[in-house]
Amino acid sequence: MTLAGSPRLDFERRLIEAQEQIDELVASAERSGFDVSEELNELKKKLNDLKESTYQNLTPMEQVQVARHPDRPYTLDYIERIFTNWIELHGDRTFRDDEAIVGGWAALGGTSVMVIGHQKGRHIKENLRRNFGMAHPEGYRKALRLMQQAEKFGRAVITFIDTPGAYPGLGSEERGIAQAIAVNLREMARLKVPLVSVIIGEGGSGGALGIGVTDRILIMEHAVYSVISPEGCAAILWHSRDFKEEAAAALKITSKDLLALGVADEIIAEPPGGAHSDWDAAAASVKEALERTVSELGRVKTDRLRKTRWAKYEAMGVWGESAPETPPDAS
């Protein structure tokens, strides 16, 4: 896929213009029959440089826009390109099949794994079905059912994270969205098989964490992972959504931030211009990282795997300790 049509994001405008220049040159060369390969190569190189410099200098809020880009590859797009023998499984066995989370068996290289991920829709019709990747409790319960099935057969679990958050609605609350996520957190901690998550787009709060308690957290270069959306945070702390830029920066949600904070284990590089400009290249990078990580974790004994996982989560965060006698800023 290449950038086409009207620019989706402001900072993409220059890239579109450069692409149009190339298209024009090609068209005129075809009409006239002149050899323009030298000029063409130069323009292509310019476009590539422009893509790289643009995508390396995104502000945190621009990163959020890229993470939410409507042309970005979604879970099923990655599954199609990374795995073989994919067979989707449906339903939580209690209420319904939540299509905001997909899951099923697939083979990574020669190894069977359970793959689970949030699924956004690309068009209005599909988004109604997928609820914009915002799962209800039954989505999280389906995910847990499949993870426990993987455990039964000693297979690793791979999750793709891409959601604005769990769905805040009546049915969601009635059927216990909080309970569903909470149980997933506890049970993912307990699973006796390797767990790997890849944040491919939007890592939205508890809805992301609900399938994100894993031995390794990989994050795409332009993906984000946050406790709250910048808009939501701005509305609460700045009393206005207009401060989303400030909130996005303050929350430290980019892949580089997450690596520095010790939450993400690895950043997966995206092709110049972002994953949405070349799905195949993006998927190839994810595949390489997954094969390496799954095979590495596969060599770790179960006890050690769980112990390491527990130790990792128990160490999360930064806090201070002082002598009990110290009064709280009594001065």
Binding site: P168, G169, A178, I181, A247, V263, W319
Partner: protein
């Protein structure tokens, strides 16, 4: 307060105009003006309508544990400012203000003690401390309470009250949900009881982690309990929420909690449960 007599009739608001404000409380349930002292004797439950007023953490220690049995742990555990977060006010300032207001270094009070002579670990969240929000210090303190329960092979009781995640600690606050749940996984595998008592209000990341993971989940009457806040839901679905939505009784009806328990019967209820489980 020599003038205070138990047989006084509740006052109307206009009567209290010139009286010191800390002597009276207006009930949010029925609007009645109540004597603060009488209310305190009734564990901050309105004698007229049964409305449960919110409580500071130390009151739950008094209500649930045998007198004099409480020994605080991790008193000095406090928040840092790992992101150097600055919105309309620096996070550091918010922390200092909260510590001064509440007289504690974090939004959790934790310790060991006995409940009807049974050894327990108790952790209580305090909504007054930045809305009881869970950052690293809160998550760590709850996790340590869980580990203390594991070490001593004693039941864990967590009293939750929280607006959710401590946004000013960014992704670390989200990770605290995984942290408390991980410790509860260990407790679960060790066969130790964990009882979750959910009080008003408990929403967001705390509901979606330790608050919902009790072997038994109890809630106080009328407590607001949910994942998303009511305002967020209203905005999302574009319609008014039904009466009683996300209240303790609603969760009981929908199967999310085991019992709604009057505050005055909490200790007895916990005693009965724990003896069934371990004594």
């Amino acid at each position: 307060m020599a003038w205070f007599r138990k047989d006084k009739k509740p006052l109307k608001s206009e009567d209290r105009r010139d009286l010191p404000p800390d002597v009276f409380d207006k009930c949010k349930g029925c609007g009645e003006i109540l004597y603060a002292e009488k209310l305190a004797q009734n564990l901050q439950v309105c004698p007229s309508c049964g409305h449960h007023f919110r409580l500071p953490a130390e009151r739950y220690v008094e209500i649930l544990l045998d007198e004099g049995s409480f020994e605080e742990i991790d008193e000095g555990l406090h928040s840092e400012d790992p992101l150097q977060f600055n919105d309309l006010k620096p996070y550091k300032e918010r922390l200092t203000a909260a510590e001064e207001k509440v007289g504690r270094r974090s939004a959790v009070l934790a310790g060991t003690g006995t409940l009807e002579s049974l050894g327990v670990i108790l952790a209580v969240m305090d909504f007054r401390f930045i809305g009881g929000s869970m950052g690293s210090a809160v998550g760590e303190k709850i996790a340590r309470a869980g580990r203390t329960a594991l070490d001593r092979k004693e039941p864990l009781i967590i009293v939750s009250a929280s607006g959710g995640a401590r946004m000013q600690e960014g992704i670390y606050s989200l990770m605290q949900m995984a942290k408390t749940s991980t410790v509860l996984a260990a407790l679960h595998e060790a066969g130790l009881p964990y009882i979750s008592l959910i009080t008003d209000p408990t929403t967001g990341g705390v509901t979606a982690s330790h608050a919902m993971l009790g072997d038994v989940n109890l809630a106080e009457p009328g407590a607001l309990i949910g994942f998303a806040g009511p305002r967020v839901i209203t905005e999302t679905i574009g319609q008014e929420l039904p009466d009683g939505f996300q209240r303790a009784e609603f969760l009981l009806k929908h199967g999310m909690i085991d019992r709604v328990v009057d505050r005055r019967e909490l200790k007895t209820t916990l005693g009965v449960l724990l003896r069934h489980m371990i004594a």
